[in-house]
């Protein structure tokens, strides 16, 4: 398989940032009670990961190893500010609901992890692709969690009510513990399937 395909498969499945590496779950849990918010948040994360991978890869020869952490953090912060300002301007409601979690993309370990593990030692285009697919892997898991939480917690999807009127919303799905349970179950399912495939975990 070509490098492009391998990276896609690794980031989406065998090395998924959320359920294989258990990285970046702070925001994964906090924003998943509504699908719309999750969508916006994950697009933001994907954008930041892809762009900072590109930038780090472009300047990797010029940055001394000793200061690379702080340089990477500043690059990430730069893109996060762009996302934050765009959200405030075009989607003020969602920006308010996401609250501090947009800013917390900076400390999302997925991004730092991809920069260190991949962009630091690979050409720009491939690094961008790697960052983007890592974002997609994150997006896939979050959307599943958000789907279940919004469907059972509010009886709606993307804010549109789809459950019959007799449906009683599950209060637990709106609150914090359900996010932990769902993520635990997703990790369980993912790992079990992977063990069955016999992939080296």
């Amino acid at each position: 398989m070509s490098a492009v395909g391998t990276i896609l498969k690794e980031n989406l499945w065998t090395n998924n940032p959320i359920f294989m590496q258990v990285l970046g779950i702070c925001s994964a849990l906090a924003v998943t009670n509504l699908l719309t918010n999750t969508m916006v948040m994950t697009i933001g994360v994907t954008f930041v990961t892809a762009m900072s991978s590109l930038t780090v890869s472009l300047i990797r020869q010029f940055v001394p190893r000793k200061v690379r952490m702080i340089v990477q953090t500043l690059i990430i912060a730069f893109y996060v500010i762009i996302v934050d300002i765009l959200l405030k301007a075009y989607a003020p409601d969602i920006s308010r609901q996401l609250g501090p979690y947009v800013g917390l993309i900076i400390t999302n370990c997925i991004i730092m992890g991809r920069l260190e593990a991949f962009a630091q030692s690979n050409p720009p285009l491939l690094s961008t692709w790697d960052g983007m697919t890592a974002g997609f892997g994150y997006m896939a898991v979050l959307l599943v969690i958000a789907f279940v939480r919004e469907l059972l917690g509010f009886g709606s999807l993307f804010g549109v009510r789809i459950m019959p009127s007799g449906f009683v919303p599950w209060t637990i799905m709106v609150t914090a513990p359900s996010a932990f349970f769902l993520l635990g179950i997703i990790i369980w399912v993912g790992k079990t399937i992977m063990n069955r495939e016999g992939a080296p975990a």
Binding site: C26, L29, I81, D84, G99, L104, A176, I187
Partner: protein, 199 residues
């Protein structure tokens, strides 16, 4: 959420430890929480370090926000500035501890670099900004959140000692069962929320 809440310091303190625990209600600081909680001793070390750093950075970041960023109308730079203050504070703290007490450095030193990327620290600073806390409220909220985080990681590491020896299905071992344990802890902490209402 943006209006300045009128809170008495005590209820804010207890609320930040129990009812709105930074970890169990706001999901902040999960990464190091899961990897470090395997070991009880390190959990206590990291919990202490997080509490100290949160106490200092919440004060420093409040001051930076109100004396530098707001007067100069540079609020949009707050992410970058906050992260730099946190990194600098951690670095200075590391040097001071190294000078003052070797024993403390040995037990605390290895955790300090981890703290810079702990989202709980940045999260608390951002909450202070969003909820427009006063200086005293900020420090109380910072220290309280640190203690809450410490309590949660100490409790989880004790539980994990037990679950390590339990017959858990293969796919659920490690992070899976940990997430479910945290879920139960979060439910238990929700029981406190009847006592105090903040936010």
């Amino acid at each position: 959420m943006s209006a300045a809440p009128v809170l008495n310091p005590f209820s804010l303190f207890f609320a930040s430890i129990f009812t709105s625990n930074i970890l169990l209600a706001n999901f902040l600081g999960m990464c190091s929480f899961i990897s470090i909680s395997k070991d009880g001793k390190s959990s206590n070390g990291l919990g202490f370090a997080v509490t100290v750093v949160l106490g200092i950075t919440s004060a420093v970041n409040w001051a930076v926000l109100h004396f530098v960023l707001i007067p100069l109308q540079l609020e949009y730079l707050r992410y970058i500035v906050f992260i730099i203050t946190i990194a600098a504070t951690v670095q200075i703290l590391e040097m001071i501890i190294d000078r003052v007490s070797q024993a403390l450095y040995m037990s605390l030193g290895i955790f300090l670099p981890l703290i810079t990327v702990n989202c709980a620290i940045l999260g608390v600073s951002l909450f202070i900004d969003i909820r427009a806390y006063t200086f005293v409220q900020s420090v109380i909220y910072g220290v309280g959140s640190g203690l809450g985080w410490w309590l949660a990681i100490a409790a989880l590491s004790a539980i994990r000692k037990k679950t390590d020896k339990s017959p858990v299905p293969a796919g659920l071992k490690g992070p899976g069962i940990t997430m479910i344990t945290i879920g139960f802890m979060a439910m238990a902490f929700m029981g406190f929320s009847g006592m105090l209402q903040v936010q």
